[in-house]
């Protein structure tokens, strides 16, 4: 007679394969940051050095800055464990804790979305907000409600914006010298009320192709749609993110911006393109709207979440005068992750699998369920907010106020 081990079914797991698991997912995520970081190095380091505007050592500053972010948040998290967790006594237990906590990611991401010349102490302040407040105080990895990096970003952007500007802001040395743009990033130009004209919004920075490649002023590592696209393909291929979340998010912003452009008299496709290619939208859509912990779990929830994100980004960006429309929208929507997850889970569990009723099956009449009502409410909410945003924003950019004068322009 032998005694065997006890455990819960199933006795096969994908994690039986050591190259699969949450650790591997986080590793793949880190790898996905590489193209973006490399581009940041190219644009804000190498290119500027080749232009002869900074020294050889200064060339590496973008990389160092990002590394400081990752390092800081790791250190802070280690510190947090040492102080609060009694079970952490040795380096080994600490290492074990950190190995399932993925500490570096918030700091890395935060550094990447800050302007290049953000003072390092501001970055550290942001890391404290990100790691200590937004992540560890909520219970650590897996329990945080808000995207840590974005909390860090919002904290910095709303309190220390002036400090960053005084320290040099987002423009690298070459961009400062070029001086074509009056110190503003493209989205800044929009918020400062330049009006919706190609000449004011796009032309000063080059063409839309420059926007796509990312050789325009902006935060350290979020300007290049091209580099992010490479990351996106990698993340989707490695099944780290769902392909449709960024697509729906960006697509919604694109469509709504198009409407706004139409109302406000910015004809053509350049305005919606400009809208999605500026201000960290694509970066946020690929790296933050897909962040698993703080977004809905079930796929229908992810769809709804992405739709809301698109709508609120437009609202915050065009109506609310936040240059940080994307960040604000994501943090704002994080609040609703749980209810959206719950509602969509109910809806999905009831509607799911309907396709199997095909081919001559007798239709079953069911009373309208609570799930259907919840679904209708969700869709109506999205549409209403979107409509409000479009009309309001479209009206804002026409001199004559909003809604009534502008509705006419739609037709």
């Amino acid at each position: 007679m032998a005694r065997f081990a006890n455990a819960k079914a199933p006795y096969l797991r994908m994690t039986d394969n050591p190259s699969f698991g949450t650790g591997a997912i986080q590793r793949d995520f880190l790898i996905a940051l590489l193209p973006v970081i490399l581009f940041a190095f190219y644009k804000n380091g190498l290119q500027v050095y080749l232009d002869g505007n900074i020294s050889f050592l200064e060339m590496f500053y973008p990389l160092v800055f990002i590394l400081i972010g990752g390092l800081m948040s790791t250190l802070l998290e280690a510190l947090f464990f040492v102080i609060t967790d009694k079970s952490v006594r040795t380096m080994k237990t600490l290492g074990k804790k950190l190995s399932v906590s993925y500490a570096a990611i918030p700091g890395l991401l935060l550094a990447m979305i800050l302007p290049l010349y953000t003072p390092v102490w501001v970055l550290i302040f942001g890391c404290i907000a990100a790691t200590l407040v937004a992540k560890m105080l909520f219970g650590g990895f897996g329990y945080n409600i808000f995207n840590p990096a974005l909390i860090g970003y919002v904290a910095v952007a709303f309190t220390l914006y002036g400090v960053i500007q005084n320290a040099g802001g987002a423009l690298n040395a070459s961009e400062v010298l070029a001086d074509a743009v009056g110190g503003a990033t493209p989205l800044g130009a929009l918020i400062e009320g330049e009006g919706l004209s190609y000449n004011a919004l796009v032309a000063p920075y080059g063409t839309l192709l420059d926007f796509f490649v990312g050789t325009i002023p902006g935060a350290l590592a979020e300007t290049s749609a091209l580099a992010i696209l490479i990351s996106y393909v990698w993340l989707v291929a490695r099944k780290v993110i769902k392909w449709f979340v960024p697509v729906i998010f960006v697509g919604t912003v694109f469509v709504l911006s198009w409407f706004i452009g139409m109302i406000a008299g910015a004809e053509g496709v350049w305005f919606p393109l400009y809208s999605i290619l500026s201000g960290g939208l694509i970066f946020g859509a690929v790296f933050m709207a897909t962040e698993p912990v703080t977004t809905p779990r079930n796929p229908l929830g992810k769809v709804v979440f992405a739709l809301f994100l698109g709508v609120f980004t437009v609202l915050f960006r065009f109506v609310g005068d936040f240059a940080e429309g994307v960040a604000t929208a994501i943090v704002f929507m994080n609040i609703f992750t749980m209810p959206i997850d719950n509602w969509t889970a109910i809806i999905r569990s009831e509607l799911g699998g309907k396709e199997i009723f095909v081919k001559g099956a007798p239709k079953v009449k069911k009373p309208i369920s609570k799930a259907t009502i919840k679904g209708i409410i969700l869709v109506a909410l999205i549409l209403l907010i979107a409509l409000y945003g479009v009309l309001k924003a479209g009206g804002m950019f026409t001199a004559s106020g909003w809604i009534l004068p502008t509705v006419g322009r739609l037709f």
Binding site: A9, L351, G353, E355
Partner: protein, 431 residues
């Protein structure tokens, strides 16, 4: 994935371990232990300790729902009532019969001169008298399905074996193709169904090879290969794929009856020879067994003897670091003491070393569990509702739909026992 197309996922079948070895008939163990329980309902014993019994003699009765007799699987003497380990994970009372190796048959076992004369009622009655229950795993009394009032147009034979390692159905079909077709034919007559369909995994060409030459005599029976996905053998999927219809509770609602292939093979003997359900096929496999094999054994055979016939446990197997699983690795149950006996529902015993210990992070919220769920549940939401003991929330999340496939736990990158939460939430609803 979002609202439709939940088709399952591919899992390494590991079928090669036991597929090519021929069926080993082990019909005369020294003792058999007939568990006095079926599907949680206790059986009423009709023999006393000390009685002699013949093969096929009624030794116990199932009462209430699914009432039917249970038969001795060897001839000999009832020597004791003993507690044995059962596939349900508990110890249950069992009738110990010492085999006298005479193979004396009960009088009821005799060939039928002309089985083609049986009426529908007679065919259903034979299922009752034979104590026929589903050999696929659930152990549902077969005749109950045939009492349904709904007209049935198709009888589906489930030979999919979508769980890894298990090959006993496959090997049985290779060995008894004729019996399978006959059994299905009788099932169709018992249900008055026009169509018979045999479903199996598409890579099991051996089944096609075995059945094709015979099919010309059975014009109403067709073969239906299904994709190599888990859980392709789920009743609901099979009915959907074969008929294009879905049903809320039982296949009969869609005009279909699903039977396991092993059950059909037994049924052929039931109809033609009046041999009741006394034996079944079982796969002994897994990396923890020296030479995995398929067996045909009397019900009540101790699994230990079968493992000994497989050459014992693999060298260097550390039981404390291995699973001993009654049933398949996805939906089976780890048994801690290797004193299991073969009951009617036990199709396999898998012995398998545990994977190396890894660290388990918190749920990262990736949603893979919701992606794979064949019934579109959101396991993490159900877990949350369960942990708050919120019955209404559990109910509104339709936790009762869970078919216990275990896929959510299977895919979870953080190794969370997420399906277990869903099972417990289901239990909560029953209270």
């Amino acid at each position: 994935m979002i609202l439709n197309k939940a088709t399952g996922i591919r899992i390494d079948g590991k079928k090669h371990m036991s597929k090519t070895t021929p069926m080993h008939e082990y019909l005369n163990p020294r003792f058999v232990y007939l568990p006095l329980i079926q599907q949680n309902s206790p059986l009423k014993r009709t023999v006393e300790v000390g009685d002699t019994v013949k093969i096929g003699q009624t030794v116990a009765l199932r009462e209430g729902f699914g009432a039917m007799p249970i038969h001795a699987s060897v001839s000999g003497k009832v020597t004791a009532i003993k507690k044995v380990w059962h596939a349900s994970g508990r110890m249950v009372d069992a009738l110990e019969i010492e085999n006298d190796h005479q193979n004396a048959l009960d009088d009821a076992i005799r060939p039928e001169p002309d089985p083609s004369l049986f009426t529908r009622e007679e065919l259903v009655n034979k299922m009752v008298n034979a104590g026929l229950s589903g050999l696929g795993g659930a152990g549902f009394p077969t005749y109950v399905k045939y009492l349904a009032k709904t007209p049935i147009d198709v009888v589906i034979i489930n030979a999919v074996e979508c769980e890894p390692y298990i090959t006993c159905d496959y090997v049985m079909i290779e060995k008894y193709p004729e019996k399978l077709l006959k059994g299905l034919q009788y099932f169709m007559r018992a249900a008055d169904a026009k169509r018979g369909v045999i479903c199996f995994k598409n890579y099991n060409v051996g089944i096609i090879e075995a059945l094709k030459p015979l099919l010309s005599h059975y014009p109403n029976i067709t073969l239906f290969p299904v994709k190599d996905l888990y859980p392709a053998g789920w009743e609901k999927y099979l009915v959907q794929q074969v008929t294009g219809r879905s049903y809320p509770n039982l296949p009969v609602e869609a005009g279909a009856i699903v039977n396991n292939s092993g059950t059909a093979i037994v049924y052929a003997d039931v109809v033609e020879h009046n041999i009741p359900l006394i034996s079944r096929a079982i796969t002994i496999s897994g990396e923890g067994v020296k030479e995995p094999k398929n067996f045909l054994v009397p019900i009540g055979t101790p699994v230990k003897e079968l493992i000994a016939l497989c050459g014992g446990y693999a060298d260097g197997l550390d039981p404390a670091k291995s699973y001993y699983i009654a049933g398949g690795p996805m939906t089976g149950r780890a048994i801690m003491i290797d004193e299991l006996i073969v009951n009617d529902t036990l199709g396999s015993v898998i012995v398998k070393p545990m994977p190396a210990e890894r660290n388990h992070p918190a749920c990262l919220g990736c949603g893979r569990c919701a992606d794979v769920c064949p019934v579109f549940l959101a396991p993490t939401e159900i877990q949350r509702a369960f942990e708050m003991n919120d019955k209404d929330a559990v109910r509104s999340l339709n936790a009762s739909k869970c078919m216990q496939c275990g896929l959510c736990s299977y895919v979870c990158p953080s190794h969370i026992e997420i399906s277990d939460f869903v099972f417990r939430a289901k239990e909560l609803l029953r209270k």
